[in-house]
């Protein structure tokens, strides 16, 4: 029986590679296997009859309602062009420092990523805005492209992040399942809020490591990132500059803080916070005279599209896991993971490795919906902390998207980088940041408190 499940898993990967939309590839391949199984008498057709109620479950999942609202907020912010002014001002502030522009790009990338949560758009925007300036100032193209790609992917880990909402939902049901399977019928829960809080310190750790790397690199190879001459500031006094910095940083920062703060303080659910954030982003766009009917339509249609894309993958993945379970795949994976040497550690390393490799071909969304429901309950029943697991998965996949030659972020940047930048420059530029990511993963593995301490302080036990 479990051979069929194994075959299904590899079958799906082969079908996915052909390039038909992921949602239908997942569901369609699973159904072909299910029909085959029914004909051969090894698959119980009753599994398929639960399909409509599963679909209805996806439709009425309250946790995931935050997704379209965060998408709305993200697209609205992206369209209101806050990135331009942020970058202009911050490069005035840091530009006269050696490596300062690199630091400015990292910070803007972080803010943009945190507030919009959209990786592709962040990398593309930063690539269009900051790459030409960095090159003109004489920055090493490898360092410039690496910085942009790395800071662009921060949107997945720094809350409020759409990915963490998806991961939070999947992990919370995996956590329940793992406890019930161990006979705990009054299970503890893990929420999207827990995950947001847990990811905060690791996210900031990553940003600090990026900046540290740029600063050390600037010391060792000063010629790779020259400082701008002081004329850049065009006679602005320190006070004037300070005022400008506060003015541009205030709107996005207060938006992030309001959204995060209200979730952490427990006054709003993630859904409510996202809606207020979306309203805030809309007001910001209006105040910057960036909103008209066309742009509003654009934002609404983009939101519909992205939201449909995400939820159809969830539907496709739930058809897949239904059939996978019908063939006994869950049991097979459980046995496999339990048999690995090294207990929880061995299982964790194996899962992380598989996810990292899958990250080359699949998106965060697919991996969250397909792989995490299968391996999550097993790992959690071995006693791993759900928040820690979520953060590790998030950083692991973020690393995967940065890793040449398949990383998504690298493709996005390639698409907008000027032709004189060689693809190999982008690849080599990403390498040190991949190393930083792996370092961060090790740090969080050694000190799980980096992820678990803050949620415990805020929410208690």
């Amino acid at each position: 029986m479990s051979y069929a499940a194994l075959l299904l898993f590899f079958g799906v990967i082969v079908v996915l590679m052909a390039g038909f939309p992921v949602a239908f590839s997942l569901a369609g391949t699973a159904l072909i296997f299910a029909f085959g199984g029914i004909v051969l008498g090894v698959f119980d057709p009753n599994f398929l009859f639960t399909l409509p109620s599963r679909l209805f479950g996806v439709m009425t999942n309250d946790t995931l309602m935050a997704v379209p609202l965060f998408v709305f907020m993200g697209i609205m912010l992206e369209r209101s062009q806050i990135a331009e002014t942020l970058l202009d001002t911050l490069s005035l502030l840091f530009g006269t420092l050696r490596g300062g522009l690199g630091i400015a790009v990292t910070i803007v990338g972080m803010l943009l990523a945190a507030s919009t949560g959209i990786v592709g758009a962040t990398v593309v925007t930063m690539g269009l805005l900051s790459l030409p300036t960095m090159l003109k100032r004489g920055y090493d193209p490898r360092l410039a492209t690496g910085t942009i790609c790395a800071s662009g992917t921060l949107g997945q880990i720094i809350p409020p992040s759409i990915i963490l909402v998806l991961l939070g939902d999947v992990l919370s049901s995996a956590y329940q399942q793992s406890q019930i399977s161990r006979g705990i019928f009054n299970p503890k829960t893990v929420t999207v809020g827990d995950l947001f809080v847990g990811a905060l310190l690791p996210g900031l750790l990553l940003v600090s490591l990026y900046i540290l790397f740029i600063m050390i690199y600037a010391l060792l190879k000063p010629e790779s990132m020259p400082a701008a001459s002081p004329e850049l500031r065009q006679g602005l006094s320190g006070l004037q500059l300070g005022k400008r910095v506060v003015l541009v940083l205030l709107p996005p920062l207060s938006l992030i803080l309001a959204v995060l703060g209200s979730i952490i303080a427990g006054v709003a659910t993630p859904t409510e916070a996202a809606a207020v954030g979306a309203l805030g982003a809309t007001l910001l766009a209006i105040s910057r005279r960036q909103l008209n009917l066309d742009r509003l339509r654009d934002v609404m249609r983009g939101t519909t599209s992205v939201s449909s894309m995400v939820f159809l993958i969830l539907i496709g993945a739930s058809v897949f896991s239904l059939v996978f379970r019908g063939f006994g795949g869950d049991e097979a994976v459980r046995h496999l993971l339990l048999q690995l040497p090294g207990g929880a550690l061995g299982a964790m390393v194996a899962v992380m490795l598989v996810m990292f490799l899958l990250g080359f071909v699949l998106d965060f969304i697919e991996i969250t919906f397909v792989v995490v429901p299968i391996v999550g309950p097993v790992l959690l029943s071995m006693g791993l902390d759900p928040v820690w697991l979520g953060v590790m998965i998030a950083i692991n996949l973020q690393t995967s998207f940065l890793t040449p030659p398949f990383g998504f972020a690298l493709f996005y940047l390639r698409g907008v980088a000027p032709p004189q930048i060689k693809t190999s420059d982008i690849y080599i530029g990403a390498m040190p940041f991949v190393a930083i990511q792996l370092l961060a993963l090790c740090l969080i593995a050694i000190w799980p408190e980096l992820a678990t301490w803050l949620p415990e302080v805020i929410y208690g036990n």
Partner: protein
């Protein structure tokens, strides 16, 4: 033969229009979701009021947006593909992927959902099923009916994709660039 291909072309265009219009219309609900959720927050904190049905209406809108918007998303080429190989294919090969994918992956899925959900929604109508929450929305069967509706729209959009692909394969149209308009908006 020429009449036949012209007929195929105009049918595909009509189907595309259906997806487009339905998606554009349903996308207004995203704005309404933002507004109503903010209203719910305001009512609770300022006026200490809370209505379950108002909150449920947001869930309904959310479900309708991604279900009914699915065909529109497909028409816009916004459903993600694993494009490592697909990107480098000739338009003819891409058309093959899309034709075979529609026939063997999309149609089985949407048709199974369509036929299994018809009974599901019909049962709900027979019982005049209402929300399980006290003070929730009444006509739950409307939300359940969204499932077969969405499956129908997706099947029609699948038919359009299949027609477009056949037209490319028999050399009538050169085929369109299959890159999504908002791929880069992915989270």
């Amino acid at each position: 033969m020429e009449n036949f291909t012209a007929g195929m072309q105009s049918l595909a265009t009509t189907l595309d229009k259906i997806s487009q219009r339905s998606g554009e219309a349903i996308s207004w609900l995203t704005l309404l979701m933002v507004t109503i959720t903010c209203l719910v927050v305001l009512l609770r904190y300022v006026f200490d009021l809370g209505w379950i049905w108002l909150q449920e209406s947001v869930t309904w809108m959310h479900a309708m947006v991604f279900m009914i918007g699915a065909a529109f998303t497909m028409q816009r080429e916004d459903h993600v593909r694993v494009d490592i190989l697909y990107r480098g294919m000739t338009l003819r090969k891409q058309a093959w992927v899309n034709l075979l994918g529609t026939l063997f992956l999309l149609f089985p899925t949407t048709l199974l959902i369509l036929f299994s959900s018809l009974g599901y929604a019909h049962d709900s109508w027979n019982y005049r099923e209402v929300s399980q929450e006290a003070g929730g929305l009444q006509a739950l069967y409307i939300l359940k009916a969204v499932i077969p509706l969405a499956a129908t729209l997706l099947t029609l959009q699948g038919l359009s994709l299949a027609l477009h692909s056949v037209l490319v394969l028999i050399g009538v149209t050169p085929g369109r660039e299959a890159t999504g308009t908002s791929q880069e908006l992915k989270p």
